[in-house]
């Protein structure tokens, strides 16, 4: 080999550089990315899907759930520290991880390799979906922290657009997939499940969890589009005072139920 001439002070000139032993900070950043995916983001996903499930009980119950969440102590701090900042970090660093990997399923179409690639695609779907979801549902239109009981009408109006509904369904499946496989990856990479057999069994557990979460999430979506609760005539206005009556019969019905 070309290395034989000089073994004492060999320098790799081309190709992949050797390990920078005990140098640099990528370990910390990568592990933080991994950890944040489970806590708090995974925990938040569970909470969000369970809260959405409340929508099956109707606009009032959904509004009450949104109201409850927004009445948590220091809720704005919780929101930024445990949701927005971890989300942004996990998403942006995740894109960075994706860009640095070179997928090769064409040559090596093995199960683990497919999952590796799928984790990147589901992640980037989640990233763009969540970005628009947070902007449109949290920071645009009627402010739900101030008017929690308008939540149902706001979401229902969003999902009335069939394209948007398709986006929500695809994103729901992608995110549940990403989280379920993310738990498996976490257990594998942090050394919780070193054994091959144990990892395989846990794979089934994670798959079941992913399917269950996706069903839960899709049921939540169904609550808004299934036709059980009438569609609001128009989107709730962006600026509405505390006492103003929201537009649309459904929103009105919501407020009535809430007051009764």
């Amino acid at each position: 080999m070309a290395t034989a001439q000089n073994t004492t002070a060999h320098v790799v000139r081309r190709g992949v550089q050797p390990l920078r032993a005990a140098e640099g900070t990528t370990f910390l950043w990568r592990k933080l990315h991994s950890l944040l995916g489970i806590i708090p983001l995974g925990a938040f996903l569970l909470e969000h899907l369970l809260s959405n499930f409340e929508a099956l009980k109707g606009p009032a119950a959904y509004g009450a759930q949104v109201h409850f969440l927004n009445s948590l102590p220091l809720v704005r701090v919780l929101e930024w520290v445990f949701i927005f900042i971890p989300l942004a970090y996990h998403g942006l660093y995740g894109v960075y991880i994706w860009l640095r990997g070179k997928s090769n399923i064409v040559y090596y179409p093995w199960a683990g390799n497919w999952m590796y690639t799928a984790q990147r695609y589901t992640g980037v779907i989640a990233f763009f979906y969540i970005a628009q979801h947070v902007i449109r549902q949290r920071f645009m239109g009627v402010s739900l922290p101030e008017h929690p009981y308008m939540a149902f009408a706001k979401v229902q109006h969003e999902l009335a657009n069939p394209w948007m509904l398709a986006v929500y369904i695809i994103a729901m499946i992608a995110i549940c997939w990403h989280f379920a496989y993310g738990i498996w990856l976490f257990a594998a990479k942090w050394g919780i499940l070193p054994g091959k057999q144990a990892r395989k069994r846990f794979g089934y557990v994670c798959a079941a969890l992913g399917v269950a979460l996706a069903v839960l999430g899709l049921a939540g979506i169904w609550a808004f589009v299934g036709g059980r609760y009438p569609q609001a005539a128009e989107n709730p206005p962006a600026a509405v005072s505390q006492t103003a009556v929201p537009a649309g019969p459904a929103a009105l019905a919501t407020v009535r139920t809430m007051l009764s």
Binding site: L19, R20, W110
Partner: protein
């Protein structure tokens, strides 16, 4: 028998800076051929399928029994050892290319010294220099030997690195082989004197954190090393070591 032929397509490149080109070869089939013996036949009569004289194909090989790790190359797209690639088991024409992740030297020969550098970076050895007699080493129980033996089977062929989506120039990932050797030498009663150093080394840039757990390494390994198990175990140990170091600072 003599009229049975086999078709080979080999990617040739005279030097790292020359353009690559494919050459087709048609050889007489013999029973029990493997890819190295086929290339030996080419060396004996270096003429392409269309009758053009050419040079013998350059490639690394030594033991021809899948134990030295030299002859790794891409055969029909997949990284594997040429010596254990039996011609009768391969789809023809057999397409042969050099490993793609290592600097090319010539034809199918690549410079895999990055693995040697990585093994040095994690001190993958037992630190006994033999300058004086230390007496008997500590006893290694059979149970521990059983656990270590599969890890000691590594032949440094670099197939695990070639097939890894994370092993590339952007990450500078260390690769599964080195991680498995860390586990082997940390398990050794004398070798474990460097245990903490090795774990810290693996937390450096390009370290164990870059693993994406695509598990290609364990699929491709010709010696069936428990690579994913080693990555998982060391993932835990490196994380614990980093936390310990942080708390003791």
């Amino acid at each position: 028998m003599a009229d049975k032929k086999l078709q080979l397509e080999i990617k040739r490149q005279a030097s790292p800076d020359d353009p690559a080109e494919w050459e087709r070869f048609e050889l007489d089939w013999r029973p029990g051929m493997n890819l190295v013996s086929a290339m030996m036949d080419i060396a004996a009569n270096p003429v392409t399928a269309d009758g053009r004289p050419t040079t013998p194909v350059t490639y690394d090989s030594n033991c021809l029994e899948e134990i030295c790790g030299s002859c790794a190359m891409r055969i029909n797209g997949k990284a594997r050892m040429a010596c254990s690639a039996l011609i009768d088991n391969l789809e023809q024409p057999i397409r042969v290319e050099p490993l793609s992740k290592f600097p090319l030297v010539r034809d199918l020969q690549v410079d895999r010294s990055v693995l040697f550098e990585n093994l040095k970076a994690v001190k993958a050895w037992v630190p006994v220099d033999g300058t004086y007699d230390l007496g008997e080493g500590p006893r290694v129980y059979p149970q521990q030997q059983e656990a270590n033996y599969p890890l000691s089977n590594c032949i440094s062929c670099t197939c695990c690195m070639e097939v890894c989506p994370q092993f590339n120039e952007s990450t500078g990932f260390v690769g599964a082989a080195t991680i498995a050797q860390v586990k082997l030498f940390n398990n050794h009663p004398t070798g474990k004197v460097f245990k903490e150093e090795r774990l810290r080394a693996l937390a450096g840039d390009g370290g164990i954190q870059e693993c994406g757990f695509a598990q290609n390494c364990v699929e491709a390994c010709p010696k069936q090393l428990p690579l994913t198990e080693a990555i998982s175990d060391l993932g835990r140990e490196v994380a614990v070591q980093k936390v310990k170091d942080f708390l003791r600072k």
